[in-house]
Subunit: 325 residues, 2 copies
């Protein structure tokens, strides 16, 4: 949407304060606090038939993932809750009640207390729009997107593609269940790993719109080229069982988005030592490097791979990409 | 809406952190910062035909008014902007561009830099939902709603009823213009007055939903009764010219809401000295007292006045109250 790109450019021009960092990051950094706000809309960022608990969990998780990418410790959240007329098949207020149950669970799990917000009523027929402002205590080193250097290694925390593969299953069958659907519904923000990596990262961000798109953003901000090796993508067993390990599956995982993973640019050799300080079981994978140049270069098994038409999603879609058969 | 009241009660139960103050205030107080979030929706909080610049200005002003009630100095804001398909008669993106012009003007005027946020696209036909999180530097004394004492005087900063009178004019004639329409479209948050009063106030809040409703809330939180004298309401010349000075006009002004005024509980005699430190031209009016007891008592010219059915609006409406002829 062209007007949206123009609008984001105008917002960046308005945000001249140093705390805004030109809106090139997902968060603001003000007086030792990291602040982020994410808004999700029914039918855009989640399916109308998604369980409300899952929507509440994800609204918290998407903000927590932004804090994780800064190595920040959550300290509070403000909720913007819109009340809509009863959802089909639910009692009045049931959707919102279950939504709050999911939100509360995520806030409890990650120690982010709800400290304020606003509740408003929407007209009949309006899609719900839900927002959360998350506040974190800034770490001593707050990595941005633009500190990557040629020669840095690109590392990913977490696996890629699970959530979009789960969403594709739901698009085919609303009753689908299993590990991939679970990850789509209840993603895990990488807070502890983010905290461990932040002091050492030249650059870090969360992978929310697809690795290829987000790596390109990090590389552009850092005035480098990103080299990504598709053979190195972290794929879960649940993912490869359903979609295989071929190039098509890898491109799906690298462009789908909705991953709640972290992407870090680390000095060569740093990750080996660092990996010992990550929570047990953390999946931590070297997926490429930064180099002199610009843009993105893709290889697979030693062969150059042409870039796909879409590197990722500007917004997390509520329906899978057309090629997600 | 019953389910909404239940939901707010549930949110208050979730917000156990001291920074939340049980959600009894409009703001959170965290580590020396005051945080507030207000969300407005098309057709609920503003008219679809309101100039977009006015909507942007008001979204900033409604949050600034919450900061003013705490005596806080604005230090930053995060915007949640939804992009909708082109509004009738406007080019693609024009509504949002003009909205940002109004928001930027208010942010510039009151020194609140935009430091972050989120921009999302909405499906066709969805009403716009716009949110702002405002952050302020906390004053040494941060007044809450619950500190009022029997014997305190109740003082109002600003005039009452102008905005709703302007809205009533627009409801009759969308081309209406004049001082009241101007106040509806470009309200002034009382930041400087709030800062001057905060060190001395036992309790303070902004009057946004109608004086009678907000005074009742302050009195309830302070375990007192509020006595309000309708004869003392601050009414502007523009207001009395259009609606007169009679009891009906006074009740309209005291219950309409959308006022961006402040209500403070002050120790007796404090206001006289305090008024010298207010910005020149500030309208500062003693409208009543707090007393032992509970609820609200209304007098006018020495006579007891029965309470109106509606003391105010739970949400700022986009159409005037039915009695606003």
């Amino acid at each position: 949407m062209n007007s949206e790109i123009k609008m984001i450019a105008r917002l960046a021009a308005m945000a001249r304060h140093p705390a805004a960092h030109g809106l090139t990051d997902d968060t603001a950094h003000l007086d030792g606090k990291i602040l982020t706000h994410d808004t999700i809309a029914e039918g855009v960022h989640y399916r109308t038939d998604d369980p409300p608990e899952s929507v509440g969990w994800k609204l918290a998780a998407v903000n927590l993932s932004d804090l994780a990418a800064k190595g920040a410790q959550p300290v509070g959240a403000l909720l913007s809750l819109t009340m809509a007329p009863p959802t089909e098949g639910m009692a009045d207020g049931e959707w919102e009640d279950r939504f709050l149950t999911g939100l509360d669970a995520a806030c409890e799990t990650y120690g982010m207390p709800l400290i304020g917000g606003d509740t408003i009523a929407l007209p009949a027929g309006a899609p719900r729009v839900l927002g959360l402002t998350a506040i974190g205590e800034a770490a001593e080193n707050v990595p941005t997107r633009d500190g990557g250097l040629p020669g840095d290694e690109l590392w990913v925390v977490g696996t890629l593609g699970d959530s979009m593969a789960g969403l594709a299953q739901l698009a085919k069958d609303a009753q689908a269940a299993g590990a991939l659907v679970d990850i789509y519904r209840r993603p895990v923000p990488q807070l502890a790993a983010g905290k461990a990596i932040a002091p050492h990262a030249h650059a870090m961000m969360d992978v929310s719109d697809g690795l290829l798109l987000d790596a390109t953003r990090l590389a552009m901000a850092s005035l480098c080229r990103a080299n990504i090796d598709l053979a190195c993508l972290p794929l879960s067993a649940a993912f490869t069982k359903v979609r295989g390990k071929g190039r098509k599956a890898r491109l799906f995982a690298a462009t789908g988005g909705d991953d709640y993973a972290l992407l870090a640019a680390l000095p060569p050799g740093k990750a080996r030592k660092l990996s010992k300080s990550l929570p047990p079981g953390t999946i931590f994978s070297r997926v490429g490097t930064l180099a002199d140049g610009e843009g993105l270069a893709l290889v697979h098994d030693g062969h150059h791979v042409p870039l796909p038409e879409h590197l990722g999603h500007e917004h997390r879609p509520a329906s899978p990409a057309p090629d997600s058969a």
